[in-house]
Amino acid sequence: MSHTADVSTDLTGTDATGTGPTGADPTGAGVRDRDELRAGATTAGPSAPAGNTAYTVEFAGVGRTFAAEPVLRDVTLTVAPGEVLAILGTSGCGKSTLLRIAAGLDAPSTGTVRIDGSAVDGIDARCAVGFQEPRLLPWRTVSANVALGLPRGTRRDAGAARVAQLLELVGLSAFAGHRPREISGGMAQRASLARALARNPGVLLLDEPFGALDALTRLKMQDLLLDVHAAAPTTVLLVTHDVDEALQLADRVILLGREDGRAGATIRQEVVVPGRRPRDRGSAELAELRGRLLAGLGIERHGQPRGLPSTSTVPHFPY
């Protein structure tokens, strides 16, 4: 994945005043203004598949064992309809596994997952997954890849309109006809997010969707996700390794990890994030929570919460 290429194109897109290099992004399809975005999402009416309902997701005693090695155990959790839940945890603790179980891509060894009251058994049409890797089909154009996410039975013209709208949303309109190998890693990840959104799912499962993005695009895409969520509420389970991202996006954060002396990760901490979104990225309250979660991830807190000095480098929100 080429980060350098990503930065250059993304900068063009995010340059609201248009002073950046022209040509790379002729239709000005960078990540758009917040107001414009929200308008775009709400005027989706005719083209978007009707009836976007958010569903409850219940994990009841979920455990997963791979070859006698417990990875997850006793995960019990209820995610309310429309809630954004962030899942934090160290690398390899089973975050992706939990998400795959919710999507029906993997079956739990113990316990059950219920969506909207009915047990998940096999791949669940009510979910859409944004994988940790973009997983785009290399022989399809970006727009054809996004179209893969459209619900079955979407009319052709409605589908095309929806895909165009989503590409606009993630700032890839100018690259609709490109192949995945012709775009950068970060752009591929945005295309993958658009594909998941195309499903208009009741449950959106996102596995580190912003992992490959540069810092600036990352902030933009976080806001975009919130805007999408505000326009069409859906239950979101978001795996991330970034505590700040979790605190910025989620209503609630769970921390997966092992308890002393026991194999298999379970919910170690559960934090309800105060305040309505969008949140001030530099608030002292969040800084305190950040310290607690970082400590849970095994990161030492050095004296003062690290959030305080960083407020000067984070642009004032909304920018």
Partner: protein, 267 residues
């Protein structure tokens, strides 16, 4: 958008075709030299006519056979046999390869048997086919189909086993199953290797054609070979060999173009 696409695809194509002319010219040098040496040695009397007829005599034989409509007939019947046998064998190879490559159960059930059949030398089938299907078209087409089957089968099973699992999972996650999953994810992923397999299969089909026609036919280039062999017509033997080389190379070049296109389009 459209403009940039066109200009992007046009430039490389132009430079490629200008280079491919050089490639064609370069490839023609050796055949021209060989014909020149052939002409020279026969003109100087290095070989007797019974040992090596001159290019002119081969040409005369070709004109003679052509005028009597025999050359066209032989070429047409051989090409027809190759095409029919190739299509049947390749289709069966594609089907069996897809089955074995996609389903674990058919892999366990079928793969060992097909592997054993592949180990049988091609000529071993001939007496059996002649007894079962007589000297008609069926026996020859069956033999050619056998020859075309295995390269396709082998490449398809191998390629399907190596399709990116993550892509297949992504396809499943977006509700694709069965035939739709196959046509959307697995088939496009293996198209370049399938076409390489087809190319091998076509070459194999020409090989098996001659084997089939040598052992029992009244028409075709293989028959021309064996018939001229018994009559001692060296000029016609050389003619048949040259025709086989040209036809084989021509059909291979056609599939080669398809292969190039697929490598660009599907990966």
């Amino acid at each position: 958008m459209v403009d940039t696409d066109v200009s992007r695809s046009r430039t490389p194509q132009r430079s490629l075709s200008s280079r491919s002319w050089a490639v064609i010219l370069g490839g023609a040098i050796l055949p021209v030299l060989i014909i020149a040496a052939w002409q020279l040695t026969t003109a100087l009397g290095v070989f007797t006519i019974a040992q090596l007829p001159s290019p002119e005599m081969v040409w005369t034989a070709a004109v003679d056979l052509f005028d009597r409509g025999l050359l066209t007939l032989d070429v047409a019947i051989s090409t027809q046999r190759v095409i029919i046998g190739f299509v049947i064998g390749a289709a069966l190879g594609l089907g069996a390869g897809a089955l074995v490559g996609l389903s674990r159960a058919s892999d366990i059930l079928l793969a060992p048997t097909i592997g054993a059949l592949r180990a049988v030398p091609s000529l071993a089938w001939v007496p059996l086919l002649l007894l079962w299907l007589k000297i008609g078209e069926e026996s020859k087409i069956t033999l050619i189909a056998i020859g075309a089957f295995f390269p396709v089968y082998t490449t398809v099973t191998g390629a399907l086993r190596h399709v990116d699992r993550q892509l297949v999972e992504a396809g499943r996650a977006f509700g694709l199953r069965g035939v739709r999953l196959f046509t959307t994810v697995q088939l496009p992923a293996v198209i370049p290797s399938v076409i390489s397999g087809l190319r091998l299969a076509l070459a194999q089909a020409w090989l098996f054609l001659v084997a089939a026609e040598l052992l029992g036919a009244s028409m075709g280039l293989g028959f021309l070979l064996s018939d001229s062999g018994t009559n001692g017509r060296l000029d016609r033997i050389l003619l048949a060999i040259i025709m086989l080389a040209v036809l084989g190379k021509l059909s291979d070049a056609l599939i080669g173009l398809l292969e190039k296109w697929a490598a660009r389009r599907w990966s």
